[in-house]
Each structure stands twice: as C-alpha cells, then as structure tokens.
Point group: C2
Chain length 456, copies 2
C-alpha cells in the first residue's frame, strides 16, 4: 500500500523516532516533494535524520533549484557523502546546472573515483547521450557460464541501474552483444554465455544527440540501451526513464517556440521575473520591428483609405485570417517534423496539400465574409452604394490571404530546416506577422483592381 | 552489430532463402519500417515467409493504417494466427482504431481465451489505463520460496512483457507487494517470498486516465506498474515504453490546440485531405466569426478614421502586438499547467507576474513605437503637424494593449480549467482574436482622449 506522511508536522511536534521508523515505507519521490515546504532549519534536521542511502535518493529527486539550496545548508561532510553516493547520471544532471565556482567546490568534495567518473561524464557535450550515461551496469564475457554471470549479478546487482539486460564485452571492453535477463534465467546454469549470443544488438553513440536517443528508445521499445565510443567500446548505459523527461523538455521547448518565446529552462513560477521578461522581449521586439512594416505598407495606401474609409474597416479581419491559417499550418508541420512524420524531401507533397487546403478554407471564409457584408447591407447603408464590389473585394482577398498564409506557414519550417535552423523557430506569431504585411498588400491590390473608378 | 536489409530488393530478385536466413538478425522495427514500401503482392509473400513469432511482432510495429491494409491482404488463417499471437495491449491498440463491423469480424478470428482477454480490455474506457494493460506478467504467493518463484519465472518468462518486477498476490488475486528481480536474485533460494516483502508498492487504477499514468511513471522512475481494480485485485501491468508514446500524443494534441487546430489523430501526410480541411475549418470559422467583431468595432470609429486617416495606419501594429504578447502568455501557462508547474490555486501569483511583465514589455514596445514616429517625422511630414500627440497615442495604446494581452492570455487557461475544459483550448490564435477586438477599443479610446480638439 501507499502510505502517507506529513514530515513538517512530525518535525514540528518533535516526533523524530516516528519519522525515522516511517521513512523507509514511503516512496522517495513523496519524501522529496515535501522538502520544499520545510524551513531551512527543519530541512537540515530532516537530512541529518535520514539514513544515507535514502538521503541521497531524496536529493536526486529534488528539483535543481532546491538541490542548490539544500546542498549549501548541509554540513560539509554530509554534502560530500550524499554527492559520493548519488547515481552518476543524476549527479551529472545536478552539477551541470551549477555556475563554475560552485561546481569546482563541489567536485572537490568527491572521492577520487567518483571525481574521475564525474569529470568524464561532464566532459561530453551538453545535450549529448554521454551526459545521461550511468556506469552502473553488468558486463559478462563470452566464456562465462550462466552460473558465473549470476554470481557477478549477485555481487554487483544492487549497484546496477536496471537488471533488464547484461552486456557481453571482449577483453578490451568492446561491446559484443546484449542479453536479456530472461534469457539467462531460462538457460541451464552450466551453459556458456557464448551459446546465448547472436551478436545482434542496438546501441547509442556517446556523442549522439539526446533527441535521437529518445527516437531510438521509442522505436525499439527498449528499457535500457548501451552506449559506445567510435571503436565500439562500451562506456555506459542509458535507461528509458530519463527519456520521458527529455521528451517532455524537448516538447516544452518546441511549444514555447511555437508560442513565440525563447525556450524557458526553468519552471514558470521559479524563473526570476527579469529573466522571464528578457526571454519574452527578444521575440516580441523582433516581431514588433517586422510589424512596423505594416504601418509603412498602410502608409502607401493612405490615399486609398482616405477615399474609401470603408476599406480600413476590414483590415483587422483580413490580416488576422491570414495569420490564423498560417499559425495552423506552421504548427502542424513543425510537429509532424519533430515526430518524423514529415521529412525535408516531402516538401512538395506538403505544398500541394496546403495549396488545396488553403484554397478550400479561403473559399469558406471568403463566402462567409461576402455574406456578412451582404446581410448588413439589407439593414443599413454603412457600406454605401458600392457594397457589392466591396463584398467581392473582401471575399477575394480572403481567398488569397488564407491560401498565402497556409503556404507561408507550411513552407517556412522547411526553409528553416534546410538552412540548418530549428523549424520550430517558425513560430505562430512570426508567421502571423509575415502574413500581416503581405496580407495588406494582397487586400489593397485586390481593392485597387475591383474598386478603381467607383470607390477609388 | 546492427545489420541492414533491403526486403524489397530481395523479394524482387526472388532471393527468398537469403531473406529467410537474414530475418532473425534484423531488429523487428526495422523490418516493419520497410513493409510500407512493398507492393500488396510482395507484402503477402513477405508475411507468408516470416516465422509466426516474427510476423506478429512486425505486425505490432506497423502504423495503424498499414495494419488495417495488411490484415485484409492476409489469408484468413494467417490473420487469425497473427492476431492470436499478438501481445494483448498491442492487439487492443490495433482493434480500437477499427470501425465496428471490421472489429467484430476480427474478434471472431480469435481463440476463445484471447477473445475473452480482448473483450475485457476493450471494455475499459478509451484513454483509460485499462486499455494499455497486458495480462502477461509473473505473480507469486507469499508462501512461495525463492526457488519456487524462479521455477514460475522459467515456466512463464518468455510470455512476460518485462521481468523487471514480479507481483505478490493472495489467493483471491489481491495485490500485496511488488518485488524487483534483483531482490530475488540476491536472496537465498530457500528463503520465503514473505521474507522479502515490505507491503509497500505503487499501483495504477484500471479506470485512471492515461495522462495520470504518465505522470506517475515520470515521478517514480518505474519501468512497469501493476494495475488494480477498486478492491485492489491485480488485473494487469503497464510498461513505461507505452508512456513515451502517450506522452508524445498528449503533447501533439496540446501543440495542435495551441496552434488553433482540432487535434489530429493521424499523421499529417496520411490524413485524408477532406478530413484535414474540416479539422482546420472548425477553429478557423469560429475565429473568423469572432474576428468579424473587429469590423463592427472599426465601424463605430469610422468617423474618427475619416477625420484622421493616419490613425488607421497603426491598427495592424497595435492589434498584432497585443496578439503576440497574448500568444506568449497563453503558451507559457498552458505548458506550465500540463507539466504540473502551475496549479489552479496559483492564479493570483501568475496574474501578478503577468501584470509586471506586461507593463515592462508594453513600455518597451511603446517606447520603440514612439521613437519610430518621432524618427519618421524628422524626414517627412507623413504624420502631419500633430505627430507628437499621435506618437503619444500609439505609445500609450501599446502599453495598454500588451498588458491586456498578457493578462488575457495568462488568465484564459485558468478560466477554462476552472470550468472543467482543457486549458489548451485557449490557443494562440484564439487569444490573439480576443485581444484584436479589445485592442481596437483601447487604441481608439486612447486616441479619442489625446487627439480630441486637434486631429479629431
């Protein structure tokens, strides 16, 4: 069963023994969740009271900002113990968030062995598979018997992150095969490892991008994958539970970009407000400068607007319809690219689909726009004697603008990707802004065509 | 090593024996990937040639539309064999995509046992944990010895989805505990299961939402979780590899909504074009109708525009700045809510942050707008003698509109959620449209205030 505990209340009422007894029965993430609500002094008492192996697990589950605060509040020796005990991949994740001087100070607290492991992991590029590795796994040799393998598992088991697979290497550490634990369990104890081997395995490269790792896990449904260097030497393993986090982070980044913000690397409520404002300001200012072109474009048509003020009334309707259809198209394509459903070479198929969709959607909105002007004219003369030509202008402009929006929105991610940029940079607001300027030109040109000699 | 194979080429050159020999050395997902490129006749030959256990795995990995096509092309008997052999959770996923009559026909192909399992799984609500369950796992009793447990694992192992954990139940099937395989491996063979039990375990409820399951897996870093009914009877297990897919699907849905499209349930290029257009049309038409209000709002200010055409020139700039800041705010909040970083009760903190950010961003854009008009006036007289008042009007309107956009964009997801709706419905285009109408009113009201007696 899943027990409940209120750490703060137990600490406040000084029931330390009760807390100590209950501790091992509570899942670690639930303990970690409550650290946030403790006062600094309580937090210190709580970490002193936990056995080391629980304390390091709780620490692993804290969000990075809380880790930073907590480690500073602990005694020098306790901090060192926790850091030394942490799983290497979690330790790397914690340390890579720290500023240089703090990082240096903490690395000095590590034992020589752990320092070596940590510096090696931190040596791989950010966002690479290397940063996610743990060196805690089981390797066996081809000439081992199954019984030897189980002995090795028993000796090393508790340090291994997952027992789903064991890895076969040669004497120089080169990866030869992976075996599932079920294969070992089902085999006779005196059989050789080499009898089970098929030399077919999947692996990741240490300098591969983490996104590619997510795709590989997702495609092959594996719980863990081995990581090798260029000469195929086994360096560590990566487990699927880390993929869930990376996948969420990636999607958050894409979503923020689609919404027109620099991707956030901290939770919304935890980010200092000045940093949040500056992240938002970057794109908002870029978009604003592009949008200033609308004022210039409108300036060119000032005489037309002066002659036919009624034309100005539909400007927001026209440009926002273009923007909305562009947002739709760009969001669909960015996501389809991220999921691998659409590749660069599909641009032609996408273009033909978008021209068709844009035309249909444009005809739909154009007809509604036409009918709206027609309907209003039945009850008022706000649109004057040339209402019919105005309705035709608005309707035709909508067809053009919606088609243009769909086309721009869908092709921009391809162009960005072709140039080696992230397609998600083609945010909905960015496409909307692009289409605003061109939409005005389409609208006033159509107006010029239909209305010259009457309104203009 | 990872071998390569070109199935189509081997089939075309009729090298069936070579294909048959290579088959077992190629990872199943790679085989599945190539089925798409085969002709219907080749596909049939390929499925005939594969041993049944590989054929069913390849079938499990096919995308649902390809599964539908393939199953129709197979002989009645072969289809039945493949369906009977499939993992129950994958079979459920396949069958739930089918229209009623096809579903009925295929269920008749199942053996009585498999039919029972399948109908039970299909009986759980769509999007519930029940649909993801597999009944293939290992259970043991508290009075088993470790040796008994390993015997059971050996007898059932190949049918079990993961061996990461075994589950302890009582005689009525009630879940008592979960044990990791490493605990069993490290224990003496004559010890009892009950000696290892701590009665602390995590589980999912069968009618729980799949999104909650993703959160639980992500929080507790588990590779598999048991699923129970209300009386805590063990019904099946769910594995983490399914979570990666569900998490991606959820994020895709949210992203599509943020971009202003009804969520797609098929890949972009596979969706029939008329369905894609109708999914996009829904929101586009809703937005268009709301946007028609801008024409009405502009109508109210027609006299002002006629008197001061220069005012109209800045309409697109003003409304799109509001829309962009609103898109940013709504995207940030929707994502933070989906990640659990922001809860309903945080609305007050979010509001205060957004008022501050909106004010700062508004002042920034307002100043740029002001300077733009000032700079142009140095070189031309396009903005007339009252350029200073116009610049003040544009600057102040931008402050108001950007603040209003940030506030609307951030609060709308809270309101939707409070009403029990999906916060992601507050799409970027939806917020932009809302802010367009109100932005016009802000702009012309500010203009009325500053310009009455001069331009107006």
């Amino acid at each position: 069963m899943h027990l409940e505990i209120d750490i703060k209340q137990l600490l406040e009422s000084n029931k330390l023994d009760e807390l100590r007894i209950k501790l091992p029965t509570i899942p670690v993430p639930d303990l970690a969740e409550q650290v946030d609500s403790l006062e600094p002094e309580e937090r210190k008492v709580f970490f002193d009271l936990m056995p080391l192996d629980i304390a390091k697990q709780v620490f692993e589950y804290l969000p990075p900002p809380m880790q930073k605060i907590t480690i500073q509040q602990l005694e020098h020796q306790e901090a060192a113990q926790i850091l030394n005990e942490m799983a290497p991949d979690d330790r790397t994740a914690f340390l890579e968030e720290l500023p240089g001087p703090a990082l240096k100070k903490l690395i000095q607290l590590l034992s020589e062995d752990e320092r070596k492991v940590t510096l090696a992991l931190l040596g791989y590029p950010a966002q690479s598979v290397g940063r996610l590795m743990t060196p805690d796994y089981i390797t066996v040799r081809p000439w081992f018997t199954i019984a030897d393998a189980f002995k090795k598992i028993r000796d090393n088991g508790p340090n291994s992150e997952t027992l789903d697979a064991v890895y076969v290497t040669d004497d120089t550490g080169v990866l030869l095969d992976d075996l599932r634990i079920s294969q070992l369990l089902l085999a006779e104890p005196d059989k050789k490892i080499s009898d089970l081997m098929d030399n077919v395995y999947l692996s990741l490269k240490v300098d591969q991008d983490q996104e590619e790792a997510v795709k590989k896990f997702s495609k092959y449904h594996r719980l863990a994958l081995p990581v090798t260097d260029k000469s195929n030497v086994l360096l560590g393993i990566v487990t699927v539970d880390d993929m869930l986090h990376i996948s969420k982070e990636e999607d958050t980044e894409d979503m923020h970009k689609i919404g027109g913000v620099e991707a956030f690397d901290e939770p919304y409520l935890q980010m200092p407000i000045y940093r949040m404002i500056s992240k938002r300001a970057v794109w908002l200012v870029i978009l604003f400068f592009s949008e200033l072109l609308t004022a210039t474009a409108m300036g060119f048509f000032e005489d037309e607007i002066a002659k036919a003020v009624v034309l100005a009334l539909f400007v927001p309707l026209i440009i926002s319809s273009g923007g909305n259809s562009g947002s739709q198209a760009t969001t669909l394509i960015i996501r389809a690219m991220a999921l691998g459903e659409v590749r660069l070479r599909d641009w032609w198929r996408v273009m033909s689909r978008e021209i068709q969709s844009g035309l249909m959607l444009g005809l739909l909105l154009g007809s509604i726009g036409f009918l709206r002007i027609y309907a209003w004219t039945l009850f008022s003369d706000i649109y004057g004697p040339h209402w019919f030509l105005l309705a035709v202008t608005v309707g035709c402009s909508l067809v053009g603008v919606v088609m243009w929006g769909s086309l721009t929105g869908s092709m921009l991610p391809f162009i960005l990707r072709r140039c080696g940029l992230d397609p998600a940079t083609s945010s909905a607001p960015f496409v909307a802004t692009l289409v605003d300027v061109t939409g005005l030109i389409i609208y006033f040109s159509v107006g010029y065509f239909f209305l010259t000699g009457t309104l203009l």
